[in-house]
């Protein structure tokens, strides 16, 4: 992982509390290198980053929502429903004889649009409807997955073969030796960091999370900012889904199961407070990578009983949270 030391040095002295997840990740990578020669290879690193991309991109959107003091429990179900709906749309267009490239392009655009629309619905219910985000998104968590199950009759919705071939490179393709999803992940992370730290909108998000009343008195249009935050997360889910669909070319009721918890865990492990107000995109990215390194390491070795995989994940999450606990 050539990036890690540079980031560590840059952040080392300025953001001391943000160091926890990076130290955790470094320790985990060290352990991995010692345990098996297969771990510290370029191919394995790319595998890990590639599969982190989905959760990572969602986690970046989730980071905004959590900083603003909200939460979204529906992202896994939302991803599943978007995947299913987009596949159905693409199959329908394909049957009409459209050419594959434009069908795929349209499908990708539809994924992002659908995500943003779902996000807008959340935002409006939360701000105009004055319902707790936990309840709104708990409700949609059930709704989205149930609709996917309904559309698929409980089975799988599968992308047409010719379309799957045309769509394949979006997940399986490489650019300068690095898989496409990793590039998208990097781009979304950079954009996220820029928006959070360098724009008025980003500062409003942090202000609302740290004290909503004060932000309101300071003439911040709290409702509009909140709706946009949920839309941003929805769009991120859409981007993650458009990368996910070509991997298996199918969506089923088990798609995206528990992604919401993984995304929230990545954000929190990365040093963002669940109560909102402040947080970091770098931390979120490191948190997401850390989570997938754990399961990668467990697959590459067989020292620990397979029945205990989830326990190892739990121990590491708690240990990293301990490393970066706030000072009293």
């Amino acid at each position: 992982m050539p990036l890690a030391p540079a980031t560590e040095a840059r952040l080392g002295w300025t953001h001391l509390p943000g160091l926890g997840p990076i130290v955790g990740l470094a320790l985990l990578c060290l352990a991995g290198t010692l345990l098996t020669p297969d771990f510290a290879t370029v191919d394995n690193a790319l595998n890990v980053l590639n599969r982190t991309a989905f959760i990572g991109i969602i986690a970046i959107g989730m980071c905004f929502v959590i900083i603003s003091g909200g939460i979204d429990l529906s992202v896994g179900s939302m991803a599943a429903l978007i995947a299913g709906a987009v596949i159905l749309l693409m199959n329908a267009l394909g049957e009409k004889g459209w050419n594959s490239t434009s069908v795929v392009a349209l499908g990708m655009a539809a994924a992002v649009l659908l995500g943003a629309l779902f996000g807008m619905a959340h935002g409006l219910l939360i701000t105009r409807g004055r319902i707790e985000p936990f309840i709104v998104t708990l409700g949609t968590l059930g709704i989205y997955r149930a609709y996917l199950t309904y559309f698929s009759n409980g089975g799988a919705i599968t992308l047409e073969n010719t379309l799957a071939d045309a769509y394949g490179p979006v997940f399986y393709g490489f650019f300068l030796g690095v898989p496409v999803p990793v590039w998208v992940f990097i781009a979304v992370a950079l954009a996220g960091a820029l928006i959070l730290n360098r724009t008025a909108y980003g500062r409003y998000v942090q202000a609302i999370g740290s004290n909503e009343q004060v932000a309101r008195y300071a003439a911040v249009d709290v409702d509009r900012i909140k709706v946009r935050t949920y839309m941003l997360l929805g769009a991120c889910v859409g981007i993650a889904t458009l990368l996910y669909v070509p991997r298996l070319g199918s969506a089923s009721p088990t798609t995206g199961l528990l992604w919401e918890l993984e995304a929230i865990a990545a954000v929190i492990v990365g040093g963002t407070a669940l109560k909102g107000g402040a947080g970091s995109i770098t931390g979120t990215v490191v948190g997401a990578v850390l989570l997938s390194v754990i399961s990668n390491l467990l697959n590459l070795t067989s020292i620990i009983s397979v029945y205990l995989n989830a326990a190892v994940q739990g121990f590491v999450i708690i240990a990293v949270a301990f490393l970066q606990r706030p000072r009293r």
Binding site: T36, T254, S302
Partner: protein
């Protein structure tokens, strides 16, 4: 539907009052079916086959009524069992228990009301409750692929295996698989990890197996969904050492691939069809209509599916 049910209930209640109760119990069968909801493709198959059985049997027998209830978890299923006995007043029950231990007491409650009980797939912890047991063959589910792989690899090679969600069913299959491999010392089972009967998890596990093991001759994916993820991971890594990927259960897409010979790595499968719920409902209904009993144990065999016999296992209308 509920209105019709109620009318029928009232009608039968009136009838019961008018005629001596014994005459009714023999001929009229009010059959309850309690199964898991369609949350993944296998249970979707269960729901579909149960409805097929209802359609066919109710058409064939006037004095039979079938009520199907699907549950998303064990607690919901327990409530449904209560409703089936107290409101629907069933006199026979076919139950696919969500969990063995949690459903034992609720099913015993139903039994105490004099209802005939057929248990499907997952056994209860107290076997004395059930009148009959119909299940798939989990031992053969592990044994058949192991024997096939041993033969196909000519007794020599490296295998990796995927496992389902940690359950007794999964253990039974795995034990049967490793049991056969013990007779073939030159076949090495490199590792077995849980892919949770899920395509995405299987993809990740396989990707890491590929990183870890440079020579793999065959994969026991142990499930047709997991086989999908496994194949994608192999294709992505552009590995050509894997000669066989053995799924399991006989999902329709997998059977289609086998029938058409679309992928040289998929040469065989093992049956574990959700159709056994159809068999269980049919056997129970027909036996009870005649006032007969079922054999205490009916095991629907898991058999090897190859290109030659694949047609008999292909049900294009089923979601599974």
């Amino acid at each position: 539907m509920t209105f019709a049910t109620r009318r029928l209930l009232i009608a039968s209640a009136v009838l019961a009052l008018a005629a001596p109760a014994t005459a009714l119990a023999q001929n009229n069968v009010n059959l309850g079916v309690a199964i898991p909801a369609a949350t993944h493709s296998f249970t979707a198959g269960i729901v579909w086959w149960a409805n097929e059985a209802k359609k066919e049997l109710e058409k064939a027998h006037k004095d039979l009524k079938v009520t199907i209830r699907t549950a998303a978890n064990a607690a919901e299923q327990a409530n449904q069992l209560q409703d089936l006995t107290s409101a629907t007043k069933i006199n026979a029950l076919v139950v696919f228990p969500f969990e063995s231990a949690a459903l034992t007491k609720p099913v015993a409650q139903v039994k105490s009301k004099g209802v005939y009980i057929t248990v499907v797939d997952r056994g209860l912890t107290d076997e004395s409750i059930q009148d009959a047991y119909v299940a798939g063959d989990n031992t053969a589910f592990g044994k058949v692929p192991a024997e096939y792989l041993a033969k196909a690899l000519k007794g020599k090679g490296n295998i990796v295996a995927l496992r389902g969600i940690p359950t007794t069913i999964d253990n039974e299959r795995m034990d049967a698989f490793t049991g056969v491999l013990k007779n073939h010392p030159d076949i090495k089972l490199l590792d077995a990890k849980h892919g949770n009967w899920n395509r995405d998890d299987a993809y990740k596990v396989m990707q890491d197996f590929l990183t870890r093991f440079k020579q793999i001759d065959a994969v026991w994916a142990a499930d047709d969904d997991m086989a999908v993820g496994v194949m994608k991971a192999i294709d992505q890594a552009k590995r050509t050492d894997i000669k066989i990927v053995f799924g399991g259960a006989g999902a329709k897409d997998a059977i289609k691939t086998l029938m058409d010979g679309k992928d040289p790595r998929i040469q065989a499968n093992v049956s574990y069809s959700p159709k056994f719920i159809y068999d269980a409902i049919k056997l129970t209904a027909e036996a009870r209509l005649k006032g007969e009993k079922l054999p205490p144990k009916t095991i629907v065999p898991s058999v090897l599916i190859t290109k030659e016999n694949a047609k008999g296992f292909y049900f294009p209308d089923s979601p599974f």
